[in-house]
Amino acid sequence: MLSAIGVASVDELFADIPTGLRASRLNLPDAEPELSLATRLEAMAGRNRTDLASFLGAGVYRHYSPALVDQLLLRGEWYTAYTPYQPEVSQGTLQSIYEYQSLMAELTGLDVVSASHYDGGAATAEAALMACRATRRERILVSHAVHPQYREVLRTYFAGLQLDEIPLVAQGPAAGTTDLVALERLLAEADHPVAGVVIAQPDFFGLLEPMAEAGRLAHAAGALLVAVVEPVSLAVLAPPGAYGADIAAGEGQPLGIPPQYGGPYLGLIACTTALIRQIPGRLVGQTRDLDGRRAFVMTLQAREQHIRREKAASNICTNQALLALAASIWLAALGPHGLRDVAATGAARATELEGALAAVGAPRVHAGAYLNEFAVRVPNARAVHRRLLDRGVLAGLALADALPDEPALSDALLVCATELTTPEQITRFATELASAIGGAA
């Protein structure tokens, strides 16, 4: 090839790099043959402890993934294609995204679904920005019961905009949920008109929020309601479209995507048709080809960065299409009854877990209704959590770690159950907890 090009060495091709700017030697290890790399990676992966009886959820939930899901995802035709720029040879990807949009529309009750965002936190931030664009206002209210890490992401994305928190009800049956009185007050601040109100359902503590009422309050003030949702819960919980949310955002990981230490995940954004021109990210629509055959194509691209550049709805380009496909296959493999069974079995196991923990002296912190996750009060929660870890039980999340500023929660553990939680694991947790509480006391 060199002689065809007419150079004597590859070095000549790099002549444009000024001598003074040439790189120092790459100080890196030598190439590792596949066998030794595989052996080393297996050992590294083995140092992670994924063998624990785990009650940790906090926004990431393990669910059963039927064998067919990953077998299909391993087809190179899916994962080694790129953005469907040439739709004639990308109908697989395009139709799968259209179907993903349709599935999410069913779950959320909202008609417009974007073809994926980075993850739940980033999607929530994008949804909040979207509310600002749609209302031409610059202030967002976010419930304190939204996942603390989502709130951190919101703060990062809102560096130049205004972000205020809605406090929680402190006591009584509604403790741990968004304080609607405070919300009404914040919405009423005439100098600072609110673009959107962000509330999670279920909230970070697993509690069910008064979404419909919050929506009425927001709308009365000309603001949009952004619901942060957990998609598996939507098998049984009222969907955002039903309680008047304008935008739903959330984390698609529970739809059969492995936890894999934080990503790649699947950011969900759905909205009403009224907001279609404001939604960030890719959209796929149905159309026809020259011969009249149904086909699918990326559409409404005038919202996107490659057309609108600095005026785009978002800078997103690469998205999470493969995860959207994974979620679609998972949902289609479970079907409506299977998804309901997953959600309801999680709730049933959570009821058992609540009983078992209460019986050994760890009662719930809050009184409100929950689906499959809840906080329990445990003396010396952090020490107990660590002790249980040594006994092979991952006792959920010590809330003192997640919300260090809230002394009221310093002795609480956030625990969850799913259909993968077995009665044996619950018994084991309760037994170990009993002895740990005794020991730590």
Binding site: M1, N48, E77, E106
Partner: protein, 501 residues
């Protein structure tokens, strides 16, 4: 069924029939939801499809065969670096210890992954010549946002609040100006030189006290290395601004040019371009960001820290108040990063340098084949980096055949098309990036196909203008799709719930 021609598929909703689904999990107890207030429950179940396993799997197998993919053929999509995705990477990411790890798992239960992330940061810092790296961003554009937010934090931390502009060449990828806007900056577009290349002098002229940063892609989106980049960086720094490098084209310069050494303050890397993590039909990717000394305090949190005893941990919330904060819920797209790590280890120092050598060699060879043929214009005669621009401008004038037509005709010949009409600054341009993993036989076959298409344009132009002929569908009505958006299917069959049994 594609062995006798690709088959378009009905949607999963059209294939749904009540009762056809498979019970994959046991039924939940009847009273599972009794403790939840009725008004919080869903009244109409979601209309998910019900398919038997064969119908479901066939749907996705047949759909998959409607896709062009790197695993089946050559994909010279310029700027996207559609290189080979080694299969060991997919295996590694699926190891149960990696895939099953919860992102809030206590540090002591996550040592394997934490070590991998920490080591990967070292690799990328060495490759980029940067002081430190964050692995958090989920894609290139997300990395840009991280980078520009750090720039912003840097200036603010110095009390320098008047810098409101980010300079971007008009040939830049759309994510660059969009990112500047998202971070609250005004994106100032710098026109390119008549030859399409980045205009370093125009940049210098626009620099001033309002400039927060410049964003520049090097090698440029034309596949050319900017030989005056050193001067520009100097001017940027002299103006008190910072220099951001869009590292999407890093594949050209591994081991040859380290942006950090050359003075760039911040850059992003696309693992899904340079380090072979797959593109996944549009994603996922990962967009690690490297920074020089000055920006280290502002890196997103949490960072991965190595303790004196050799163990690893995640930074705690609030531990480093100068941080710009979190850009996403958890530490990073770890599953993607495992793949990048495997790729780096498989190659090693010499292998990575060879990647760039081979990528640049392949691009120059293809460019030479096309130039020699005279079939297309080659706007920039000098040696290219890992990609190059060809243009159908002359061909269009002679035959009416546009670059778009050439792209569609390539599909008929069994190749994916290059990136067309990008950068916007070149008339009828196609950005061709062969990558380092293609054999000379493939390169020659692709050149032959392009040359043949030019001949067809002269002899039977409708063969080209009406292409593709052999794809599952012909050209699409894109305008109609946008005029009357149809963005979702509706379930066909009523849903019984709870379960019919």
């Amino acid at each position: 069924m594609s062995v006798v021609g690709p088959r378009l598929q009905p949607t999963i909703f059209e294939q749904s029939r009540p009762g056809r689904g498979v019970a994959r999990v046991a039924h939940s107890p009847k009273d599972a939801l009794a403790r939840i207030p009725a008004d919080q429950l869903r009244s109409v179940p979601p209309g998910l499809p019900e398919l038997s396993e064969p119908d479901l799997v066939r749907h996705y197998v047949n759909l998959s065969q409607l896709n062009y993919a790197v695993d089946a053929g050559f994909y010279p999509l310029g700027s996207c670096t559609m290189k080979w995705n080694p299969k060991i990477n997919e295996w590694a990411a699926r190891l149960p210890g990696f895939a099953g790890l919860h992102p809030m798992a206590p540090d002591e239960t996550a040592q394997g992954t934490l070590q991998l992330l920490w080591e990967l940061e070292q690799w990328l810092a060495e490759i980029s010549g940067m002081r430190a790296v964050t692995l958090q961003p989920a894609a290139g554009a997300h990395g840009e946002l991280a980078g520009i937010l750090m720039v912003r934090a840097y200036h603010l931390a110095r009390g320098d609040a008047d810098r409101t502009e980010v300079l971007v060449p008009d040939s830049a990828h759309g994510t660059n100006p969009a990112t500047a806007a998202m971070a609250g900056y005004t994106a100032v577009t710098i026109p390119s030189r008549p030859d399409g290349a980045v205009d370093i002098d125009a940049f210098r002229a626009a620099l001033g006290p309002r400039t927060a940063a410049i964003m520049i892609t090097n090698p440029s989106t034309l596949g050319l290395f900017e030989s005056r980049i050193g001067d520009l960086i100097e001017a940027v720094h002299a103006a008190g601004a910072l220099a951001y490098m869009d590292g999407a084209n890093l594949n050209a310069i591994l081991g040859r040019f380290k942006p950090g050494e050359a003075g760039f303050d911040v850059m992003h890397i696309n693992t899904h371009k340079t380090f072979s993590t797959p593109h996944g039909g549009g994603g996922p990717g990962a967009g690690p960001v490297g920074v020089g000394e000055r920006l280290v305090p502002f890196l997103p949190s949490p960072r991965v820290l190595r303790e004196p005893d050799g163990t690893f941990r995640l930074e705690r919330t609030g531990e480093r108040p100068t941080s710009i904060g979190r850009l996403r819920t958890f530490v990073g797209s770890t599953g993607v990063l495992v793949r990048a790590y495997a790729y780096l280890c498989s190659h090693g120092a010499a292998g990575l340098a060879e990647v760039s050598d081979d990528a640049v060699l392949a691009a120059n060879y293809l460019k030479h084949r096309l130039a020699e043929s005279g079939a297309y214009d080659i706007p920039f005669a000098r040696h290219c980096m890992h990609e190059f621009i060809a243009s159908a401008a002359t061909l269009k004038r002679a035959t009416g055949v546009r670059t778009l037509d050439v792209a569609k005709r390539l599909l008929d010949k069994g190749f994916h098309a290059p990136t067309v009409y990008f950068p916007l600054t070149v008339e009828e341009g196609m950005l061709i990036e062969p990558t380092e993993t293609e054999s000379i036989e493939t390169l020659d076959a692709f050149a032959d196909a392009l040359i043949e298409i030019a001949r067809e344009a002269h002899d039977h132009s409708e063969l080209v203008t009406e292409a593709p002929h052999g794809a599952p569908v012909r050209r699409l009505d894109e305008a109609g799709a946008a005029r009357q958006p149809d963005l979702r299917a509706r379930p066909m069959a009523p849903i019984d719930t709870p379960c019919p049994d």
